[in-house]
Amino acid sequence: MQREVVLTGIGGQGVQLAAKTLAMAATAEGRQVMMSSHYGGEMRGGQTEASIIVSDDRLRPVPILESTWSAYVMHHRYWPGVAARLRPGGLAVVNSSVTGDELTAEGAEVVPVAAGDIAAGLGSPMAAGFVLLGAYVSVAGLARLESLVDAMKELVPPYRTQHLAINEAALRAGAQAGTEAGAARAGSEVGR
């Protein structure tokens, strides 16, 4: 079983960190993982995208995806390019605090999660990317929440340890919100 996720947003939203966290968590669970990133020279505001392939067995390694089973959407600016690659029957978990409820994808399910508002409620709007990541895995699978928490702790550099607690809270709050948003839908067998 092979599943793909494309993560999209604008530079500064933590999309690349979320991608690395998910890829590292899935690797720690013993799966084959490939992750590639595309972003411009800008640190903030530009296009940022990552794609991850997770497989239970040998990976066919093509790092540029023709299509994807799922999407993680922090911002709608580059959504059309992602929506076009989303396969029918797939799913997109979107940060509705920014995108609103207007995003649609033909044949695929869109699961809105107010990641920005939830992160603000926790006192750290910066952690919205982790809220959406927690929501994504509760809906889509690919990795367990506890593996995400461990991977996040490994990825955060020593000079940023003050964010560990809030990041963990964000992942857990996101998972809760994802479950409430209807986790029973098109979940992946890969992550179960």
Binding site: V33, M34, M35, G40, R60, E66
Partner: protein, 359 residues
């Protein structure tokens, strides 16, 4: 050992250190920079040295110096920086100093540079082109082994997708048997004895200890490269046995071609994929054999047509050889552009197969 998620550059750096590399020098230039940064992070822990040189010319000559002193040494850049390194690579080939050059190229337009070289003299550079990160990890250790075995500079042809893609990989030390003794190394132990060693491209020797001179020295080196050409070619052939169309590609592009071939086979098309793993020596005989039942050969490379020369040299005029790729670079100038996708390749291979069927 369990797999870890590593960026390609980091995985290659760790593999080089497992291979015993203890000297690395480079000058930043994407997509090579990440390898230099990983080396800078990792070398101190193993008492190795990583130098951020002032230029590519300085970096390659540092590697040459470290290699001459007996260290397992390496350098690297992308094609633009490797252009500057050509003189030192040629000198090292002719004065027999082993080191590894990691070419994290900006696409596939440096095939000629990698396989023909731009230095002077009769020399060759063994060059491996991995198709993904896990193969790059394997090639890294093999390259250090081959460099020492043949006392020659060798090269990896990587790219942005090798350097920047993260993959779950295991970096383990590979066993290639005992390392050859470096009884030629300029390690300083004979200083002041009057019997100091010499490494010299022209092999003239000293007044009291004359060398073989350039004629005999270079003939022997030419014979060495002939020997390497005979035994060191590497390749991968998939579904070529009954293939009417064989698609030849190298490096990361080959992973896309393999997927295209797998999909077209499911549609009943008799296509196969052939990949030279070593760009030099080019696996000429293996390619000719893989194309035994083919009525056409397609060459997919993301450039104006470079490897196609080697394909034609391998199979002659027996079967038509057609180019499938073209120049294609993305907005950053660092990655292959729009043609490096499964649909782009699949559509064109399918069309070419149908065209032949109509005839």
């Amino acid at each position: 050992m369990t797999a870890r998620l590593l960026q390609g550059s980091d995985a290659v750096a760790r593999s080089a250190i497992e291979a015993g590399c203890r000297f690395f020098a480079g000058y930043p230039m994407l997509p090579f920079t990440d390898l230099l940064e990983s080396m800078a992070r990792l070398m101190p822990a193993v008492d190795g040295v990583c130098m951020n040189a002032e230029s590519e010319i300085e970096a390659v000559n540092m590697a040459l110096g470290a290699g001459a002193a007996g260290a397992r040494a390496a350098t690297g850049s992308c094609g633009q920086g490797i252009a500057l390194m050509q003189e030192a690579i040629a000198e090292a080939a002719l004065n027999e100093v082993p080191f590894v050059v990691f070419n994290m190229a900006r696409g596939q337009q440096d095939y000629f540079q990698a396989t023909r070289g731009g230095g002077w003299g009769d020399y060759r550079t063994l060059c491996l082109a991995p198709k993904d990160v896990s193969e790059a990890v394997e090639h890294t250790q093999l390259l250090f082994h081959l460099a020492d075995r043949y006392r020659a500079p060798v090269m990896m042809y990587g790219d942005y997708l090798i350097s920047h893609t993260y993959m779950s990989v295991e970096v383990e030390r590979r066993d290639y048997g005992p390392r050859p003794a470096k009884d030629w190394a300029l390690d300083g132990r004979r200083g002041g004895t009057g019997r100091s060693r010499q490494i010299w491209t022209w092999a003239m020797g000293k007044a009291n200890d004359p060398g073989p001179g350039p004629d005999r020295h270079w003939q022997r080196i030419a014979e060495k490269f002939d020997d390497m050409g005979r035994v060191e070619s590497r390749w991968e052939a998939e579904r070529c046995d009954d293939a009417e169309t064989v698609v030849v590609s190298f490096g990361t592009a080959a992973a896309f071609v393999e997927q295209v071939v797998a999909e077209l086979r499911e549609d009943g098309l008799r296509v196969g994929a052939f990949r030279p793993v070593s760009l030099w020596p080019f696996p000429e005989a293996a390619l000719a054999e893989a194309c035994a039942s083919a009525s056409q050969v397609l060459v997919f490379e993301v450039n104006a047509g470079q490897m196609i020369d080697d394909v034609r040299l391998s199979i002659g005029r027996r079967i038509p050889v057609r180019p499938l790729g073209r120049v294609s670079i993305d907005f950053s100038g660092m990655r292959q552009g729009e043609i490096l996708t499964v649909p782009w390749i699949r559509d064109r291979v399918r069309a070419a197969v149908k065209e032949v069927a109509v005839k």
